[in-house]
Symmetry: C2
Subunit: 228 residues, 2 copies
Protein backbone atom coordinates (compact mmCIF):
# COMPACT_ATOMS: atom_id res chain seq x y z
CA UNK A 1 0.00 0.00 0.00
CA UNK A 2 2.99 2.32 -0.19
CA UNK A 3 2.53 5.03 -2.72
CA UNK A 4 3.77 8.19 -4.42
CA UNK A 5 3.33 11.70 -3.18
CA UNK A 6 -0.05 13.38 -3.33
CA UNK A 7 -2.89 10.91 -3.93
CA UNK A 8 -1.91 7.53 -2.65
CA UNK A 9 -3.04 5.31 -5.43
CA UNK A 10 -1.30 2.02 -4.82
CA UNK A 11 0.72 2.53 -8.00
CA UNK A 12 4.43 1.89 -7.99
CA UNK A 13 5.94 5.16 -9.15
CA UNK A 14 9.67 5.64 -9.33
CA UNK A 15 11.34 6.69 -6.08
CA UNK A 16 13.10 9.98 -5.42
CA UNK A 17 15.88 9.46 -7.94
CA UNK A 18 14.06 7.39 -10.52
CA UNK A 19 14.71 4.19 -8.55
CA UNK A 20 11.80 1.71 -8.75
CA UNK A 21 9.80 1.76 -5.54
CA UNK A 22 9.94 -2.04 -5.08
CA UNK A 23 13.75 -1.78 -5.00
CA UNK A 24 13.55 0.92 -2.33
CA UNK A 25 11.11 -1.24 -0.38
CA UNK A 26 13.45 -4.21 -0.56
CA UNK A 27 16.30 -2.01 0.70
CA UNK A 28 14.46 -1.84 4.04
CA UNK A 29 14.19 -5.63 4.08
CA UNK A 30 17.89 -6.06 3.25
CA UNK A 31 18.71 -3.71 6.10
CA UNK A 32 16.52 -5.68 8.49
CA UNK A 33 18.22 -8.95 7.50
CA UNK A 34 21.69 -7.38 7.72
CA UNK A 35 20.90 -6.23 11.24
CA UNK A 36 20.00 -9.83 12.05
CA UNK A 37 23.29 -11.07 10.55
CA UNK A 38 25.10 -8.46 12.62
CA UNK A 39 23.26 -9.52 15.79
CA UNK A 40 24.63 -13.00 15.07
CA UNK A 41 28.18 -11.58 14.84
CA UNK A 42 28.51 -12.17 11.13
CA UNK A 43 31.19 -9.98 9.52
CA UNK A 44 30.47 -10.64 5.84
CA UNK A 45 27.48 -11.91 3.91
CA UNK A 46 26.99 -12.91 0.27
CA UNK A 47 24.22 -11.71 -2.02
CA UNK A 48 23.03 -15.32 -2.10
CA UNK A 49 22.65 -15.53 1.69
CA UNK A 50 20.88 -12.19 1.75
CA UNK A 51 18.60 -13.31 -1.07
CA UNK A 52 17.89 -16.67 0.60
CA UNK A 53 16.77 -14.90 3.76
CA UNK A 54 14.14 -13.04 1.73
CA UNK A 55 13.20 -15.52 -0.98
CA UNK A 56 15.00 -13.51 -3.68
CA UNK A 57 17.71 -14.51 -6.15
CA UNK A 58 21.26 -13.25 -5.63
CA UNK A 59 20.95 -11.48 -9.00
CA UNK A 60 17.97 -9.50 -7.67
CA UNK A 61 19.94 -8.48 -4.60
CA UNK A 62 22.89 -7.26 -6.70
CA UNK A 63 20.58 -5.47 -9.13
CA UNK A 64 18.78 -3.68 -6.28
CA UNK A 65 22.03 -2.55 -4.68
CA UNK A 66 23.24 -1.45 -8.11
CA UNK A 67 20.69 1.37 -8.06
CA UNK A 68 22.37 2.88 -5.03
CA UNK A 69 26.09 2.33 -5.60
CA UNK A 70 28.82 -0.29 -5.57
CA UNK A 71 28.88 -2.12 -2.26
CA UNK A 72 30.23 -5.68 -2.18
CA UNK A 73 33.40 -7.27 -3.44
CA UNK A 74 33.35 -10.30 -5.76
CA UNK A 75 34.36 -13.44 -3.87
CA UNK A 76 34.15 -11.73 -0.46
CA UNK A 77 30.61 -10.42 -0.40
CA UNK A 78 29.41 -7.51 1.67
CA UNK A 79 30.91 -6.22 4.91
CA UNK A 80 27.87 -6.42 7.19
CA UNK A 81 28.68 -3.48 9.47
CA UNK A 82 29.63 -1.22 6.58
CA UNK A 83 26.58 -2.12 4.52
CA UNK A 84 24.24 -1.53 7.48
CA UNK A 85 25.69 1.98 7.74
CA UNK A 86 25.40 2.60 4.01
CA UNK A 87 21.79 1.42 3.81
CA UNK A 88 20.84 3.48 6.85
CA UNK A 89 22.37 6.56 5.26
CA UNK A 90 20.49 5.90 2.02
CA UNK A 91 17.20 5.29 3.81
CA UNK A 92 17.70 8.20 6.19
CA UNK A 93 17.64 6.11 9.36
CA UNK A 94 21.21 7.07 10.35
CA UNK A 95 19.61 9.96 12.26
CA UNK A 96 16.68 10.43 14.63
CA UNK A 97 13.37 11.53 13.10
CA UNK A 98 10.89 13.28 15.34
CA UNK A 99 7.41 11.91 14.84
CA UNK A 100 3.91 12.87 15.99
CA UNK A 101 1.09 10.40 16.51
CA UNK A 102 -2.35 11.84 15.84
CA UNK A 103 -5.30 9.94 17.25
CA UNK A 104 -5.32 8.05 20.54
CA UNK A 105 -7.90 5.38 19.93
CA UNK A 106 -6.91 1.72 20.22
CA UNK A 107 -4.68 1.78 17.16
CA UNK A 108 -3.13 5.18 17.90
CA UNK A 109 -2.25 4.10 21.43
CA UNK A 110 -0.73 0.86 20.14
CA UNK A 111 1.33 2.74 17.57
CA UNK A 112 2.48 5.20 20.23
CA UNK A 113 3.68 2.32 22.37
CA UNK A 114 5.26 0.36 19.50
CA UNK A 115 8.96 -0.07 20.30
CA UNK A 116 9.95 -0.99 16.76
CA UNK A 117 9.85 2.66 15.70
CA UNK A 118 12.53 3.81 18.12
CA UNK A 119 14.80 0.93 17.12
CA UNK A 120 14.78 2.42 13.61
CA UNK A 121 15.45 5.95 14.85
CA UNK A 122 11.86 7.21 14.88
CA UNK A 123 11.15 9.02 18.12
CA UNK A 124 7.60 9.86 19.04
CA UNK A 125 7.88 13.31 20.58
CA UNK A 126 4.25 14.43 20.57
CA UNK A 127 0.80 12.85 20.64
CA UNK A 128 -2.47 14.52 19.69
CA UNK A 129 -6.21 13.97 19.92
CA UNK A 130 -9.26 16.21 20.10
CA UNK A 131 -11.13 14.25 22.77
CA UNK A 132 -11.18 16.32 25.99
CA UNK A 133 -11.10 13.08 28.00
CA UNK A 134 -7.79 12.16 26.38
CA UNK A 135 -6.08 15.53 26.15
CA UNK A 136 -3.73 16.00 29.11
CA UNK A 137 -3.31 12.28 29.81
CA UNK A 138 0.22 11.02 30.33
CA UNK A 139 1.48 8.48 27.77
CA UNK A 140 2.53 5.44 29.82
CA UNK A 141 5.27 4.39 27.40
CA UNK A 142 6.76 7.84 26.91
CA UNK A 143 7.88 9.66 30.02
CA UNK A 144 7.05 13.32 30.17
CA UNK A 145 4.70 13.33 27.17
CA UNK A 146 1.04 14.21 27.51
CA UNK A 147 -1.68 14.03 24.89
CA UNK A 148 -2.07 17.49 23.37
CA UNK A 149 -5.07 18.98 21.63
CA UNK A 150 -4.77 18.79 17.87
CA UNK A 151 -5.00 22.58 17.71
CA UNK A 152 -1.50 22.71 19.20
CA UNK A 153 -0.08 20.68 16.30
CA UNK A 154 1.40 23.57 14.35
CA UNK A 155 3.20 25.16 17.27
CA UNK A 156 4.48 21.85 18.64
CA UNK A 157 5.60 20.65 15.19
CA UNK A 158 7.73 23.79 14.86
CA UNK A 159 9.06 23.67 18.46
CA UNK A 160 9.98 19.98 18.29
CA UNK A 161 11.15 19.75 14.67
CA UNK A 162 8.50 17.18 13.81
CA UNK A 163 8.81 16.05 10.20
CA UNK A 164 6.65 12.93 10.14
CA UNK A 165 3.15 12.21 11.42
CA UNK A 166 1.36 8.93 12.01
CA UNK A 167 -2.39 9.31 11.47
CA UNK A 168 -4.66 6.95 13.36
CA UNK A 169 -7.96 8.82 13.25
CA UNK A 170 -11.41 7.75 12.05
CA UNK A 171 -11.85 7.82 8.25
CA UNK A 172 -14.00 10.93 8.23
CA UNK A 173 -11.37 12.99 10.06
CA UNK A 174 -8.35 11.82 8.10
CA UNK A 175 -8.44 14.38 5.27
CA UNK A 176 -8.96 17.46 7.49
CA UNK A 177 -6.29 16.24 9.92
CA UNK A 178 -3.92 15.62 6.99
CA UNK A 179 -4.51 19.22 5.96
CA UNK A 180 -3.62 20.36 9.46
CA UNK A 181 -0.39 18.35 9.14
CA UNK A 182 0.38 20.05 5.83
CA UNK A 183 -0.31 23.45 7.39
CA UNK A 184 2.01 22.52 10.26
CA UNK A 185 4.90 21.91 7.85
CA UNK A 186 4.94 18.14 8.26
CA UNK A 187 6.67 16.45 5.33
CA UNK A 188 5.49 12.86 5.53
CA UNK A 189 2.25 11.23 6.67
CA UNK A 190 1.80 7.54 7.48
CA UNK A 191 -1.96 7.15 7.28
CA UNK A 192 -3.85 4.27 8.91
CA UNK A 193 -7.35 5.58 8.14
CA UNK A 194 -9.12 3.66 5.36
CA UNK A 195 -9.25 6.60 2.92
CA UNK A 196 -7.12 7.98 0.10
CA UNK A 197 -5.65 11.27 1.23
CA UNK A 198 -5.00 14.26 -0.99
CA UNK A 199 -1.90 16.28 -0.17
CA UNK A 200 0.39 18.70 -2.00
CA UNK A 201 3.15 17.05 -4.03
CA UNK A 202 5.81 18.13 -1.53
CA UNK A 203 4.19 16.08 1.24
CA UNK A 204 4.74 12.32 1.07
CA UNK A 205 1.78 10.14 2.03
CA UNK A 206 1.82 6.40 2.65
CA UNK A 207 -1.38 4.61 3.57
CA UNK A 208 -1.68 1.32 5.39
CA UNK A 209 -5.26 0.06 5.38
CA UNK A 210 -5.26 -2.90 7.76
CA UNK A 211 -8.56 -4.29 6.46
CA UNK A 212 -7.31 -4.06 2.87
CA UNK A 213 -4.24 -6.07 3.87
CA UNK A 214 -6.52 -8.78 5.23
CA UNK A 215 -8.76 -8.58 2.15
CA UNK A 216 -5.75 -9.04 -0.12
CA UNK A 217 -4.68 -12.04 1.93
CA UNK A 218 -8.19 -13.51 1.68
CA UNK A 219 -8.09 -13.09 -2.09
CA UNK A 220 -4.92 -15.15 -2.24
CA UNK A 221 -6.43 -17.84 -0.01
CA UNK A 222 -9.75 -17.83 -1.86
CA UNK A 223 -8.95 -20.34 -4.56
CA UNK A 224 -7.56 -22.91 -2.11
CA UNK A 225 -9.72 -25.52 -0.44
CA UNK A 226 -9.50 -25.74 3.38
CA UNK A 227 -6.24 -27.46 4.29
CA UNK A 228 -7.63 -29.90 6.87
CA UNK B 1 4.90 -4.99 1.90
CA UNK B 2 2.37 -7.41 0.49
CA UNK B 3 3.97 -10.47 -0.94
CA UNK B 4 3.71 -13.87 -2.58
CA UNK B 5 3.25 -17.16 -0.85
CA UNK B 6 6.09 -18.69 1.11
CA UNK B 7 8.91 -16.24 1.78
CA UNK B 8 7.52 -12.74 1.80
CA UNK B 9 10.13 -10.94 -0.21
CA UNK B 10 8.48 -7.68 -1.15
CA UNK B 11 8.47 -8.75 -4.79
CA UNK B 12 5.38 -8.25 -6.89
CA UNK B 13 4.59 -11.71 -8.19
CA UNK B 14 1.53 -12.40 -10.26
CA UNK B 15 -1.66 -13.05 -8.31
CA UNK B 16 -3.66 -16.28 -8.22
CA UNK B 17 -4.60 -16.27 -11.90
CA UNK B 18 -1.57 -14.51 -13.34
CA UNK B 19 -3.08 -11.11 -12.55
CA UNK B 20 -0.43 -8.56 -11.51
CA UNK B 21 -0.48 -8.04 -7.75
CA UNK B 22 -0.69 -4.22 -8.03
CA UNK B 23 -3.94 -4.64 -9.96
CA UNK B 24 -5.34 -6.90 -7.24
CA UNK B 25 -4.25 -4.36 -4.63
CA UNK B 26 -5.98 -1.55 -6.49
CA UNK B 27 -9.14 -3.67 -6.64
CA UNK B 28 -9.42 -3.26 -2.87
CA UNK B 29 -9.04 0.50 -3.26
CA UNK B 30 -11.69 0.64 -6.00
CA UNK B 31 -14.02 -1.29 -3.74
CA UNK B 32 -13.39 1.12 -0.86
CA UNK B 33 -14.13 4.11 -3.09
CA UNK B 34 -17.23 2.46 -4.55
CA UNK B 35 -18.53 1.86 -1.01
CA UNK B 36 -18.04 5.60 -0.41
CA UNK B 37 -19.94 6.45 -3.60
CA UNK B 38 -22.70 4.10 -2.48
CA UNK B 39 -22.82 5.70 0.98
CA UNK B 40 -23.43 8.98 -0.88
CA UNK B 41 -26.34 7.39 -2.77
CA UNK B 42 -24.60 7.39 -6.14
CA UNK B 43 -26.08 4.87 -8.56
CA UNK B 44 -23.47 5.01 -11.33
CA UNK B 45 -19.85 6.09 -11.49
CA UNK B 46 -17.43 6.56 -14.39
CA UNK B 47 -13.90 5.16 -14.64
CA UNK B 48 -12.71 8.77 -14.60
CA UNK B 49 -14.43 9.55 -11.28
CA UNK B 50 -13.13 6.34 -9.78
CA UNK B 51 -9.63 7.14 -11.06
CA UNK B 52 -9.79 10.73 -9.79
CA UNK B 53 -10.63 9.50 -6.30
CA UNK B 54 -7.41 7.48 -6.29
CA UNK B 55 -5.04 9.56 -8.39
CA UNK B 56 -5.20 7.09 -11.30
CA UNK B 57 -6.09 7.58 -14.96
CA UNK B 58 -9.41 6.27 -16.26
CA UNK B 59 -7.41 4.03 -18.62
CA UNK B 60 -5.70 2.41 -15.61
CA UNK B 61 -9.07 1.77 -13.99
CA UNK B 62 -10.47 0.13 -17.13
CA UNK B 63 -7.29 -1.91 -17.62
CA UNK B 64 -7.38 -3.17 -14.02
CA UNK B 65 -11.05 -4.19 -14.29
CA UNK B 66 -10.25 -5.84 -17.62
CA UNK B 67 -8.26 -8.51 -15.79
CA UNK B 68 -11.39 -9.63 -13.97
CA UNK B 69 -14.18 -9.32 -16.51
CA UNK B 70 -16.37 -6.84 -18.35
CA UNK B 71 -18.13 -4.54 -15.91
CA UNK B 72 -19.16 -1.07 -17.11
CA UNK B 73 -21.08 0.16 -20.10
CA UNK B 74 -19.61 2.83 -22.43
CA UNK B 75 -21.32 6.17 -21.85
CA UNK B 76 -23.10 5.00 -18.69
CA UNK B 77 -20.22 3.84 -16.52
CA UNK B 78 -20.46 1.35 -13.73
CA UNK B 79 -23.52 0.49 -11.65
CA UNK B 80 -22.19 1.16 -8.16
CA UNK B 81 -24.23 -1.45 -6.28
CA UNK B 82 -23.57 -4.14 -8.86
CA UNK B 83 -19.85 -3.43 -9.05
CA UNK B 84 -19.52 -3.48 -5.24
CA UNK B 85 -21.03 -6.96 -5.29
CA UNK B 86 -18.80 -8.12 -8.14
CA UNK B 87 -15.60 -6.83 -6.53
CA UNK B 88 -16.55 -8.38 -3.20
CA UNK B 89 -17.10 -11.71 -4.87
CA UNK B 90 -13.75 -11.45 -6.65
CA UNK B 91 -11.92 -10.45 -3.47
CA UNK B 92 -13.75 -12.98 -1.36
CA UNK B 93 -15.33 -10.46 1.02
CA UNK B 94 -18.88 -11.40 0.06
CA UNK B 95 -18.69 -13.92 2.91
CA UNK B 96 -17.55 -13.90 6.53
CA UNK B 97 -14.01 -15.07 7.21
CA UNK B 98 -13.19 -16.37 10.66
CA UNK B 99 -9.92 -14.94 11.92
CA UNK B 100 -7.64 -15.55 14.91
CA UNK B 101 -5.44 -12.91 16.47
CA UNK B 102 -2.25 -14.28 18.00
CA UNK B 103 -0.44 -12.06 20.47
CA UNK B 104 -2.12 -9.70 22.93
CA UNK B 105 0.49 -7.04 23.42
CA UNK B 106 -0.34 -3.43 22.57
CA UNK B 107 -0.57 -4.03 18.85
CA UNK B 108 -2.42 -7.35 19.14
CA UNK B 109 -5.01 -5.81 21.43
CA UNK B 110 -5.47 -2.86 19.06
CA UNK B 111 -5.89 -5.20 16.10
CA UNK B 112 -8.39 -7.29 18.06
CA UNK B 113 -10.43 -4.16 18.76
CA UNK B 114 -10.13 -2.73 15.23
CA UNK B 115 -13.65 -2.34 13.84
CA UNK B 116 -12.52 -1.99 10.23
CA UNK B 117 -12.04 -5.76 9.96
CA UNK B 118 -15.65 -6.66 10.70
CA UNK B 119 -16.90 -4.07 8.22
CA UNK B 120 -15.04 -6.06 5.53
CA UNK B 121 -16.42 -9.37 6.72
CA UNK B 122 -13.49 -10.47 8.86
CA UNK B 123 -14.70 -11.75 12.18
CA UNK B 124 -12.25 -12.29 14.99
CA UNK B 125 -13.48 -15.47 16.63
CA UNK B 126 -10.46 -16.42 18.75
CA UNK B 127 -7.54 -14.71 20.43
CA UNK B 128 -4.34 -16.36 21.64
CA UNK B 129 -1.30 -15.60 23.77
CA UNK B 130 1.08 -17.64 25.90
CA UNK B 131 1.30 -15.24 28.82
CA UNK B 132 -0.48 -16.82 31.83
CA UNK B 133 -1.49 -13.31 32.97
CA UNK B 134 -3.38 -12.79 29.71
CA UNK B 135 -4.84 -16.24 29.10
CA UNK B 136 -8.43 -16.34 30.35
CA UNK B 137 -8.98 -12.59 30.16
CA UNK B 138 -12.19 -11.43 28.49
CA UNK B 139 -11.75 -9.34 25.33
CA UNK B 140 -13.60 -6.09 26.02
CA UNK B 141 -14.58 -5.51 22.39
CA UNK B 142 -15.71 -9.08 21.71
CA UNK B 143 -18.41 -10.47 23.94
CA UNK B 144 -17.92 -14.00 25.07
CA UNK B 145 -14.36 -14.37 23.83
CA UNK B 146 -11.51 -15.04 26.21
CA UNK B 147 -7.79 -15.13 25.48
CA UNK B 148 -6.80 -18.74 24.93
CA UNK B 149 -3.41 -20.34 25.34
CA UNK B 150 -1.62 -20.74 22.02
CA UNK B 151 -1.51 -24.49 22.58
CA UNK B 152 -5.27 -24.55 21.94
CA UNK B 153 -4.80 -23.05 18.47
CA UNK B 154 -5.13 -26.25 16.49
CA UNK B 155 -8.29 -27.46 18.19
CA UNK B 156 -9.95 -24.06 18.13
CA UNK B 157 -8.99 -23.43 14.50
CA UNK B 158 -10.75 -26.66 13.54
CA UNK B 159 -13.78 -26.07 15.78
CA UNK B 160 -14.32 -22.49 14.59
CA UNK B 161 -13.34 -22.84 10.93
CA UNK B 162 -10.52 -20.33 11.26
CA UNK B 163 -8.79 -19.78 7.93
CA UNK B 164 -6.80 -16.59 8.59
CA UNK B 165 -4.51 -15.53 11.43
CA UNK B 166 -3.18 -12.13 12.39
CA UNK B 167 0.25 -12.44 14.01
CA UNK B 168 1.23 -9.72 16.46
CA UNK B 169 3.98 -11.44 18.41
CA UNK B 170 7.59 -10.42 19.12
CA UNK B 171 10.00 -11.01 16.22
CA UNK B 172 11.70 -14.01 17.82
CA UNK B 173 8.41 -15.89 18.23
CA UNK B 174 6.97 -15.15 14.80
CA UNK B 175 8.46 -18.09 12.90
CA UNK B 176 7.57 -20.78 15.48
CA UNK B 177 4.06 -19.34 15.87
CA UNK B 178 3.67 -19.26 12.07
CA UNK B 179 4.57 -22.95 12.08
CA UNK B 180 1.87 -23.59 14.68
CA UNK B 181 -0.57 -21.80 12.36
CA UNK B 182 0.49 -24.00 9.46
CA UNK B 183 0.07 -27.10 11.63
CA UNK B 184 -3.39 -25.85 12.61
CA UNK B 185 -4.49 -25.72 8.98
CA UNK B 186 -4.59 -21.94 8.72
CA UNK B 187 -4.38 -20.79 5.10
CA UNK B 188 -3.34 -17.16 5.38
CA UNK B 189 -1.15 -15.24 7.83
CA UNK B 190 -1.05 -11.47 8.19
CA UNK B 191 2.25 -10.94 10.00
CA UNK B 192 3.08 -7.76 11.92
CA UNK B 193 6.37 -9.01 13.37
CA UNK B 194 9.44 -7.47 11.74
CA UNK B 195 10.73 -10.72 10.23
CA UNK B 196 10.39 -12.59 6.96
CA UNK B 197 8.41 -15.75 7.58
CA UNK B 198 8.93 -19.05 5.83
CA UNK B 199 5.79 -21.08 5.13
CA UNK B 200 4.75 -23.84 2.74
CA UNK B 201 3.60 -22.61 -0.67
CA UNK B 202 -0.04 -23.44 0.14
CA UNK B 203 -0.09 -20.93 3.01
CA UNK B 204 -0.28 -17.26 2.00
CA UNK B 205 1.78 -14.83 4.07
CA UNK B 206 1.59 -11.05 4.01
CA UNK B 207 3.86 -9.01 6.22
CA UNK B 208 3.28 -5.47 7.40
CA UNK B 209 6.35 -4.07 9.13
CA UNK B 210 5.20 -0.80 10.65
CA UNK B 211 8.74 0.53 11.15
CA UNK B 212 9.62 -0.29 7.54
CA UNK B 213 6.59 1.72 6.41
CA UNK B 214 7.89 4.70 8.35
CA UNK B 215 11.42 4.14 7.05
CA UNK B 216 10.14 4.14 3.48
CA UNK B 217 8.27 7.36 4.15
CA UNK B 218 11.41 8.92 5.62
CA UNK B 219 13.35 7.95 2.50
CA UNK B 220 10.86 9.83 0.35
CA UNK B 221 11.04 12.88 2.61
CA UNK B 222 14.83 12.74 2.88
CA UNK B 223 15.71 14.78 -0.17
CA UNK B 224 13.32 17.59 0.72
CA UNK B 225 14.36 20.55 2.87
CA UNK B 226 12.16 21.34 5.90
CA UNK B 227 8.97 23.02 4.63
CA UNK B 228 8.83 25.87 7.19
Amino acid sequence: MASGTGKDSGKNPAGPEGIPEPAVRRLSLYLRELENFRANNRKTVSSRELGDALGLTDAQVRKDFGYFGQFGQPGIGYQVEELVGQLRRILGTDRVWNVAVIGQGNLGRALTAYRGFLRKGFQIVAVFDDDPDKVGQVIPSLESIRVQHIRELKKTAADKWIRLAILAVPAEYAQPVAEQCVAAGIQGILNFAPVSLTAPAEVAVTSVDLAVQLEQLAFRVLGSPPRF
